[in-house]
Each structure stands twice: as structure tokens, then as C-alpha cells.
Symmetry: C2
Subunit: 150 residues, 2 copies
Amino acid sequence: MSSAEPAGTWQQRLRASGHRLTPQREMVLRAVEELGHATPDEVHAEVRRHSDSVNLSTVYRTLELLDDLGLIRHAHLTDRAPTYHSATGHEHAHLVCRACGRTTSIGRDEMEQALSGLAARHGFAPDYGHLTVFGTCADCRQGERGTLEP
Amino acid sequence: MSSAEPAGTWQQRLRASGHRLTPQREMVLRAVEELGHATPDEVHAEVRRHSDSVNLSTVYRTLELLDDLGLIRHAHLTDRAPTYHSATGHEHAHLVCRACGRTTSIGRDEMEQALSGLAARHGFAPDYGHLTVFGTCADCRQGERGTLEP
DNA sequence: ATAGATGCAAATAATTTGCAGACCG
DNA sequence: CGGTCTGCAAATTATTTGCATCTAT
């Protein structure tokens, strides 16, 4: 049904689309996979730890490219910067608590099952791996003591 | 159950929270209600059409205040700027097609029903009025001509 | 009268772009 | 070699903030 990962290694994937395999691209991809969910800035910092400098512009350009190729994905876990994560693992959506900031990953299957009826009804094919549901988690609903801004 | 609109008119709502009723705030609120879904910049432009100048800073400050008070709401309909909309109407979530950009409103009830199981399972209370589901609409799935790689 | 609100301009933050030189294939 | 990529610095875009002045209450 839904095509998830394109065939081939990421190296092949790059070449197949007429792009080149550079050390920067390899480092950025690794950083994203290690960090889990990270902003462009965090990826930049991580890359710098392992190797010498890679320019922030290059990080932005690379993240965009890898996202286009489907090698990584991005989601909006805050009202601010987008965060990137590996696409080689299992596709997942996110529940984000506004009170404590905690993020819970929801497997694609569970989310797909929940939205299947709605999706069918509207002839809409959701991008599950990009979906973020904001709200309040169990812990924060109990201890509800108003707003706690970090 | 879920407290949607606080009691009282928006004027009362403002005063009750220790804020003042200014012409700027009134104009911004009107603009948001007229525009449907609008970015801060669009709200600014709309306000200027009707009356003389209101500073963009004031628009930002006012949108934030009205959002905090629950008089308006915001959602992320693109990977970019947030858009604000009236909260006096029915609360709703959005389906956004990445291909054509079309936005479909989904009533709170329908979305709540779809996610109820998942929400209960995780003890999570979703903010339905903020939820945006990206994906591909029916029309665009047909005309599908693949991905456009550079 | 007076705390809160606005306008303005400058400060931040986040992201993008032009270009010359470096480098993959 | 030759077209891609990268680094760098400057340009954009988006949003926030300090402060003097104004105004709703």
C-alpha cells in the first residue's frame, strides 16, 4: 500500500537522484539518527562534536535534501523550530504535552487505525509520520496547577 | 465537559483578566474573524485597510493575548507561519493537502471520536482545535504524477 | 492619577542566498 | 575535467523587546 522506504541504501538513493555522496551529508545523516529528534541547530552542534566544522548553511541544505529523498523526516514538536528524525526506523506520529513538554511516539499503525475512518470519509491520505497532536498528558492533567512556563 | 468558550462577552473577558479594551484590540479581533485563517502579517494588513495604522508589534502582542484568553486560536497550516482564526465559531481541526494546499475543516466532534480510543489509551487530552493533519487530498491523489526530483 | 497599552526603532532568531573555490565521480 | 557542493558572509524573513509616550479606567 503505502510506500515507506524507497529501495536501496541511502548511498544509492543519493546517487540515483543525481546527487553526490559527501562526508558532510554522511555526518548530518548520522547525527540525525543519533539524536532522535533534533533541530537544525542541534544537528549542527552534534556534527561539530564528531568531526571538524560543517557550516550551518550546509546543515540546512542537507536536511532539506535528505528530507526530500525520504531518508529523514521532520515534525513540528513545538510552535517553533521543526525537528528532524531518522526515517529508517518505524514511522511514527507524536503526542506532545504542552504543560511538561513530554513527547510520546505513536506507532504508525495505531495512528492509522484511529484516523482510518476519518481519512476514508474525506478521501484524504494523512502523512502519519508528520503528525503531531498537542494536548495535555495524564500526569499534567492531575497535578493541574495552572501554567508553568519553563 | 471540555470548557470551550469562557463565559461573557469578549469585552468582559478582557476586563476580567485585568486587561484593557482598546480600539487596536477590537480591530485585531475583528480582522481575525473576518479573514478566517490569517497570519500575523495578513491580520496587520487587514487592520490597516479599515482604520489607520496599528503597529505590527501591537498585532503580535494582541494576537498572543487574545489566544491566551481563548478569544482566538492558532494552528499551523503550513510548515511556516502560524495562522489565527476565530474561536467563537465551532472548534475545529484541519486537514491540509501538501500538493494543492487546500484546507478542510474537521469538526471537533468528528476528530474527537476518531482519536478517543488513542487518547484514552495514553491518558492524553488532545487539543483538537490546534490539530492539523498534513497529507494528500482525494483530487491530488488521482492526478498523482510522482515525485519531482531535481 | 496611574497601571497598562501602543508606537517606534533596534535587537534577536531563524533561515536563505550569491558566489568563488574545493571536491566527487 | 566539469558539474556539484561547501564555506562564508551578507541578505531575508519573522518575531521580540526597551523605552518614552499615551490612554483607558
